[in-house]
């Protein structure tokens, strides 16, 4: 129970970090971390099917596709002008 609460808080921190990071590579890795913790939580909640899908698609393939896309475009986010 305590482990689950800690995992949820780490997940929240990773999700917030994904929004804050200016380096998009770091942001993508934070998103992958969120997926990874979600997979562990699904396993604790007795849904191994969903956990496997989340771990393989969310944590591995999505991150890989985002990294390829970042490599083809730009790595750093620019400050938006005139907000």
């Amino acid at each position: 129970m305590i482990l689950e609460i800690i995992l949820v808080f780490v997940m929240l921190i990773a999700a917030a970090a994904a929004g804050i990071f200016k380096d998009l590579l770091n942001a993508v890795i934070a998103v992958g971390f969120v997926s990874f913790i979600a997979a562990i939580l699904f396993y604790f909640l007795q849904a191994p099917d969903v956990a496997m899908a989340e771990a393989s698609i969310g944590a591995a393939l999505t991150v890989a596709i985002f990294i390829i896309a970042i490599k083809k475009t730009k790595r750093f986010e620019e400050d938006e002008e005139g907000s």
Binding site: A60, I65, I68, K72
Partner: protein, 227 residues
């Protein structure tokens, strides 16, 4: 100013969702479907994994829709990214010997694991989507670690994808022919917990595994090839 307005809007939406979901009891359900599937699932479909019996048998038409959505996404991506001329690849670094050897040893094991997951989808957790994604991650490892990779054979991959989609639809249409329902489980159910049981469920899940694996590999291949 704009940020403040959008923050206030987000807070209002959050309060609205919270208030409207307050009445719904968390983790409890009044529906009878869950009980019905848990009690009659093994007897009616022959699959020990109830999730699989729901995904492929009770809600098989839904799964056909999901597979179609994935197919359309892959087709759209390759339509946008396709180019007649090969992108230039002058800056491609060769992978180190350690990475190359590790990938060479790991790739067959990952393929075996993915195939195990989608073949045993009706017995153990997992199924076509999960196994296909694991197979695709094995191919991703090949892309990362190989020394002379110039793209997979596109037409073979499309043939695998289309054939497995066709098998899914044909198996469903045979059910329409035999019993009057699309995706009817017309094959013998067999004894639960054996590999050859549960009628058409393993056939459909193997087809889905091949389809998802080749589709996701095709997406990664298209993205790397495009310029």
């Amino acid at each position: 100013m704009r940020k403040a307005v959008s923050f206030i809007l987000v807070v209002i939406i959050a309060i609205g969702i919270g208030l409207s979901l307050q009445e719904v009891p968390f983790g409890k359900t009044k529906s009878e479907v869950r009980k019905y599937c848990l009690e009659k699932g093994i007897e009616q479909t022959g699959a020990t994994n109830i999730v699989t019996s729901v995904v492929v048998n009770y809600r098989g038409f839904d799964t056909l829709g999901e597979v179609t959505v994935l197919f359309l996404a892959a087709i759209g991506l390759s339509a946008i990214l396709y180019r007649e001329k090969e992108g230039e690849r002058k800056n491609r670094r060769r992978s180190s010997l350690i990475l190359y050897t590790g990938c060479k040893f790991l790739f067959p094991l990952i393929l075996l694991f993915g195939a195990y997951i989608f073949i045993h989808g009706h017995l153990t957790p997992g199924g076509g989507f999960q196994g296909g994604a694991i197979v695709a991650s094995g191919f991703l490892l090949v892309i990362l670690g190989s020394r002379s990779w110039w793209g997979f054979n596109r037409s073979k991959m499309k043939i695998t994808e289309s054939l497995s989609g066709l098998i899914f639809v044909v198996v469903g249409l045979l059910g329409l022919l035999y019993g009057g329902h699309f995706l009817l489980n017309y094959l013998p159910k067999g004894i639960p917990n054996e590999l050859f049981s549960a009628g058409i469920i393993p056939i459909i899940y193997i087809a889905i595994g091949f389809k998802v694996g080749s589709e996701i590999t095709g997406i990664i291949d298209d993205m790397i090839r495009s310029g």
